[in-house]
């Protein structure tokens, strides 16, 4: 089977077809690594390009990502045997006092779809809950969101709590939300600021790079 057929099905977000074709490709002796790199990752890169060009919107991105997840369920047992690792573990949440959800939810969904494991703590999350979640999960990255001018001070408190906590590994912190700026991010000691969801994914990749 020509893997470009699988890639095209992924770009079109046909989840059932993608799962079926992934199985067929394995049956025809394509390796799991080849299927992942030549069809699935390459397909998701094309979807990303279409998004950047304004041809695709988030719903198409998520459809393709859902199809990718279906294919990964087929491939994961084989990849697990060959040192495959997700990109990293991220704890996400909207800071204490703030109930805004959708921006953070979008970033969480896009991170998941980019092969990060996401622990979404929801909204109005106190600093100590972020610390606990990092301790429990061993996450390497934390994403903080805020939309209110009166709640961005809670972002600083959360960054402070994470820096002061005796965590087993040094956690990276990225921040975003309407009143947040890169200067503010720098001032409070965050490792990065993303103005929107797709930049957040790129930032997460950068922060997780060895």
């Amino acid at each position: 089977m020509d893997l470009s057929i699988l890639k095209q099905a992924l770009i079109e977000g046909n989840d059932q077809t993608v799962a079926d074709l992934t199985q067929r490709a394995l049956d025809e002796d394509h390796s799991a690594e080849t299927i992942l790199s030549d069809a699935l990752i390459s397909g998701m890169e094309k979807v990303g390009e279409l998004f950047e060009q304004g041809e695709y919107f988030v719903p198409e991105l998520l459809l393709a990502a859902r199809a990718m997840q279906g294919a990964m369920e087929v491939l994961r047992p084989l990849l697990a045997a060959s040192d495959y690792q997700p990109l990293g573990k991220v704890v996400m949440g909207t800071v204490q006092g703030d109930l805004h959800d959708i921006g953070k939810k979008l970033v969480a969904m896009m991170l998941e779809d980019s092969d990060f494991e996401v622990i979404d703590l929801g909204t109005d999350v106190p600093p100590e809950r972020f610390v606990e979640a990092v301790e429990e999960s061993g996450a390497q990255l934390v994403g903080l969101s805020a939309l209110l001018t009166t709640t961005i001070p809670a972002m600083e408190a959360t960054v402070g709590a994470l820096r002061e906590a005796e965590l087993p590994t040094q956690v990276k912190i990225m921040v975003g939300g309407a009143p947040v700026t890169s200067t503010f991010a720098q001032d409070i000691g965050a490792d990065g600021y993303a103005p929107d969801a797709s930049s957040a994914v790129a930032l997460a990749r950068r922060l997780m790079a060895p």
Binding site: F57, P59, D98, L99, P153
Partner: protein, 457 residues
């Protein structure tokens, strides 16, 4: 129960700023809809924590902002003004805070009215805290109780107009918007939200009933349709989808008026023109002078049918001219002056048409709130037999209007937007006949996000 089955404004020509068939009187001598447009100014704190220790400073800032805004009204001889106190979450969580600030603002308005004769009113909008829990627990529990106490405290402290931006159904709508899923959007706005609004607005109306000088204002689909507008602004979802969500949002927001709201509707309810066509009640709108809070593709057309003209929200920061609330109050006052001069000369249709035509062919979101489209969508809503059918009828009409404008070459859509318009039309055609079937069909996708009991299901 009131159920609108016909239009108060059936002729788009009569849908115009400053004029509402049903007048609303409120506050200190303010009469809305009587051929005058008034500014509605909303201001908020700059970046600062809101805690017990900072509360005195917060109060001082609100006093300073209100004094500044009233000062501009006096200097520019505004015929009247509404000041809106839109709570920050802690102000609703601590009902005594919301009450204290309401009382202080009321005193400032009362003094100004006594001193300069300024007709004015205070709108207070507590936060719908109930959404703080997942799944939201809407009809009981500590969050509802805090909200209820806040509503009561604000009316007892002197709010003239009580409003809310209710969020029942948002837990489903957010997910559906990101998935571009019409079934989920109709489930949220056509099944869940109207049920929650009916329950909530009956209670808000009860809080206001019997308290002289307090009226139940209105609601807004802000949490749904403005979320869609902002996602479209960031090119995350298509504009055509945001335009359709706006139309469906009107079917939802109407529930407030059917359960006790008297108007004016909330400023961020861009679905206001559709509501005004149905109810004939005054509406508040925001657009080009609300860029302090957010951008939009409908800055002029939003003014075309308003009775109050708002800036949405502005932080108390210094500008070269003065404080930002003062600056935006001045912008609103001048916008209103222009509309009121047009009304005085009998030229309101000329100005209205300029406001409409300067926007409506630039964006499907602007198109669906233009007077002709608003009346068409309103007519589809009132002809439908249930909330579910109202939502689908509003969406179908919006799709038709956008499609016609494209066919006529008046509205240009990108290929991606055109593809979405077709997809939305096809998804609408595939919706089941009843809300029961829709609930069943969407159970696997969305059932875990909401508690049926919160919606009386």
């Amino acid at each position: 129960m009131l159920r609108y089955a016909s239009l108060a404004v059936p002729d788009p020509r009569d849908l115009v700023f400053g004029h509402a068939p049903t007048l609303v009187s409120c506050g200190f001598g303010l009469k809305l809809g009587a051929r005058v447009v008034f500014p509605e100014v909303n201001f908020t704190l700059p970046s600062m924590p809101l805690t017990d220790s900072t509360w005195p400073d917060a109060l001082a800032q609100y006093r300073e902002m209100a004094r500044g805004v009233l000062g501009r009204a006096r200097a520019l001889e505004a015929p009247g003004m509404v000041i809106e106190l839109e709570h920050l979450p802690p102000m609703t969580e601590h009902p005594e805070w919301g009450a204290q600030i309401t009382a202080e603002l009321l005193e400032l308005l009362e003094n100004e009215h006594a001193k300069s004769g300024l007709a004015c009113a205070l709108r207070v909008t507590p936060v719908d805290l109930r959404y703080g829990e997942r799944p939201p627990r809407l009809r009981d529990g500590p969050l509802w109780e805090a909200l209820r106490l806040s509503l009561v405290a604000c009316t007892e402290s002197g709010a003239h107009i009580l409003s809310i931006e209710s969020e029942g159904g948002k837990e489903v709508c957010d997910e559906a918007l990101l998935r571009g899923d019409i079934r989920g959007i109709v489930l949220a706005l056509g099944v869940l939200a109207p049920r929650d609004m009916a329950w909530l607005w009956n209670r808000i109306a009860d809080v206001c009933a019997g308290r002289e000088g307090v009226i139940a204002g209105g609601d807004s689909a802000c949490a749904f349709a403005n979320t869609a507008m902002q996602l479209a602004h960031q090119r995350l979802i298509p504009e055509t989808l945001a335009a359709v969500v706006r139309a469906v949002g009107a079917a939802r927001s109407l529930a407030a008026f059917e359960h006790g709201a008297e108007g004016p509707s909330k400023d961020c309810a861009y679905e206001g023109p559709i509501l005004k066509a149905i109810t004939g009640r005054p509406i508040s709108m925001e657009g080009k002078s609300a860029t302090c809070a957010h951008f939009s593709p409908l800055g002029n057309v939003a003014a075309a049918t308003c009775d109050l003209w708002s800036n949405e929200s502005v932080q108390n920061v210094r500008l070269l001219s003065g404080s930002a609330p003062e600056a935006f109050a001045e912008s609103l006052i001048y916008d209103c002056r222009l509309m009121n001069e047009a009304l005085r000369r009998g030229k309101e249709h000329c100005l209205r048409d300029l406001l409409v035509d300067s926007d409506r062919w630039h964006s499907p979101q602007a198109l669906v709130i233009s007077p002709e489209a608003a009346v068409a969508i309103a007519r589809a809503i009132v002809a439908a037999p249930s909330d579910y059918h109202r939502a689908t009828a509003a969406a179908q009409t919006a799709v038709q209007l956008i499609g016609q404008a494209v066919t006529q070459g008046k509205l240009m859509l990108s290929p991606a937007e055109t593809r979405w318009l077709d997809r939305i039309e096809s998804d609408l055609a595939d919706l089941p006949d009843t809300e029961g079937e829709l609930l069943e069909q969407t159970q696997a996708e969305y059932g875990h996000l909401f508690e049926r009991s919160s919606y009386g299901l």
